[in-house]
Symmetry: C2
């Protein structure tokens, strides 16, 4: 059969051409025993009946950015959702919607990147799907991943456990992913290239929870909407306030400079390798130590604390010059197609 270099509509038709794409392009890159059975679903034997289940679709533009690509992002994003739920990732699905005419070489790169990222995180893509739509009916490629994880014994993460006095921890600098993608999309060159933080934090959160299970009360990954959205969700969900210290929030100087230049608030900018954890004050130092030992936690910091509500729930930031600024829930218009 003829070798094609672009995706054709027939590649999505469920016949010979679909089978060919699957066997030549997809399976060799995602290779694993379960997927290779090409069953209607993957059969798995989990280690526990208590599971977490999550999904995200990825529409990032551009598809390749400094520090990652849509394949790596789609795997990391779903692993991170499992991670901050207190789970060990067990299996991933990967579903592609591809625009007719998409370069098969690009698809191969994206698949290889997704598979590599999954394998590095001791997880595999065990089931999937490919659809093709006509030219103009999608923008290159969209990827959905779903994931199953098994709950770490003793992990007890729940927004209801949060109380005044608890500390707010983040495992590193904010805004790296969002500023990298937006500056590449806009064709802006900074003297020093920005780099997305795109990574799975599952290994780090797993260590933290196995060592300090029960001490960590809640976790969430600050993706779209950034740190500002997560803090506001926590305030709204608990009815408590949050005060963060501007000076304690890790921000890369290049990211801050790029954000200032583009008029973007770093607090509202997406991250893809970060988690916010709420922990009892007495265990804060302990958790920081655990995180700092991990490559993805070198710049871990306590950035603020939970406070009693003074009227309506609110998030405030003590600025470097001693003032106070309310951090609002972002409206959402800032950065489309960031993930």
């Amino acid at each position: 059969m003829q070798k094609h270099d672009k995706i054709l509509l027939a590649h999505g038709g469920g016949g010979q051409m679909s089978s060919e794409l699957l066997r030549r392009t997809i399976l060799p890159r995602l290779k694993n025993r379960i997927l290779a059975q090409l069953a209607d679903s993957a059969k798995l034997d989990l280690v526990s009946k208590s599971v977490c289940f999550t999904t995200d679709s990825y529409v990032v533009k551009p598809l390749f950015f400094n520090g990652g690509d849509i394949g790596k992002l789609a795997v990391c994003g779903t692993l991170n959702d499992l991670a901050v739920s207190g789970a060990i990732p067990a299996a991933l699905s990967l579903s592609l919607i591809i625009e007719e005419g998409f370069e098969i070489k690009m698809l191969e790169k994206i698949l290889a990147s997704a598979a590599k990222t999954a394998a590095e995180n001791d997880c595999h893509i065990v089931t999937g799907d490919t659809k093709v739509v006509e030219k103009g009916a999608a923008d290159g490629i969209f990827i959905n991943t779903a994931g199953i994880g098994t709950l770490i014994p003793g992990a007890d993460l729940s927004i209801e456990r949060i109380a005044a006095g608890d500390k707010v921890l983040i495992n590193g600098t904010i805004g790296d992913h969002g500023m990298t993608v937006i500056s590449q999309r806009e064709g802006i060159r900074f003297r020093s290239a920005l780099r997305s933080d795109c990574a799975s934090v599952a290994d780090l959160t797993g260590r933290l929870l196995r060592q300090r299970a029960g001490k960590v009360k809640f976790m969430r990954d600050p993706t779209r909407g950034g740190l500002a959205a997560v803090l506001n969700e926590i305030a709204a969900g608990t009815g408590l306030g949050i005060v963060v210290n501007q000076a304690d929030i890790p921000i890369d100087l290049k990211v801050q400079a790029a954000a200032d230049m583009l008029g973007i608030d770093v607090l509202e900018t997406a991250n893809e390798g970060k988690f916010v954890a709420i922990i009892s004050a007495q265990y804060a130092e302990d958790c920081i130590r655990t995180c700092k030992k991990h490559p993805l936690g070198k710049k871990t910091a306590i950035i603020g604390e939970i406070v009693k509500s003074s009227g309506r729930p609110a998030v405030e930031m003590k600025t470097r010059i001693g003032g106070r600024r309310i951090i609002q829930m972002p409206y959402g218009r800032q950065l489309p197609r960031i993930c």
Copy 2:
């Protein structure tokens, strides 16, 4: 906050507008206890550690067709993949990629339909995601569903169990979904309207497997590529041949007429409420009886049998006039965006 009637880019930004769409439009329609927690992932307690996991994306055009819509289809398709794997569906995810400008009223209808279909099948949408892309970057709405099911005890479905002499069963007429969608898309009016078979077969396969676990050797749902693709996949996977009798294959006369008119082979046309089962000959009558008691199995028929391979694996059809025709694996070009 202002009420919008069309999807805006900001609805996908992860901020206030996303939250508003979620709370006003999505949650009230998908309502269930787990989803309402709006956690990064859904926590589930499964009844077994042996699970099936599957995913599919849906890009059907038009979004609404006689007998269903993209929401119902996205739920049924994933339930069916679990069903033919021998699983009882436990939970679904639902992820939306929406084009800017999409009518919120249409979204509401689609969500209501998805939720109703899930509930009718004793399953819920427990986790999800919404992304918005610019006008022209997608075609209305694309939906991904993933699903988890728990294996029915005793169900032992595996293509390796298939042997010469086994019977090929289907639970009703073929081609209904594909011919309905294509004829609506092409704006063709037939004297009698066609109707998609879009339905979840999970209840029916569940009954069959609970009553006859072990007697059913393999199941697959003939979606894209139709019956022709499934039979060829079975032949290729077993190295055995298959002979089907044209006279025994249930086909609605209106569907056949429409297919003839459009020059489409019904055997290659998508179904969305059908499964093919391979069963030992001695249990065939027994399985038919069980199926015929179910609303989705009234027209169940044995359409052929597995035979020893005569050289290379092949699927043949004995025609009504006594001839033989090879049923090939469809090429895939026939019907884009059918599901």
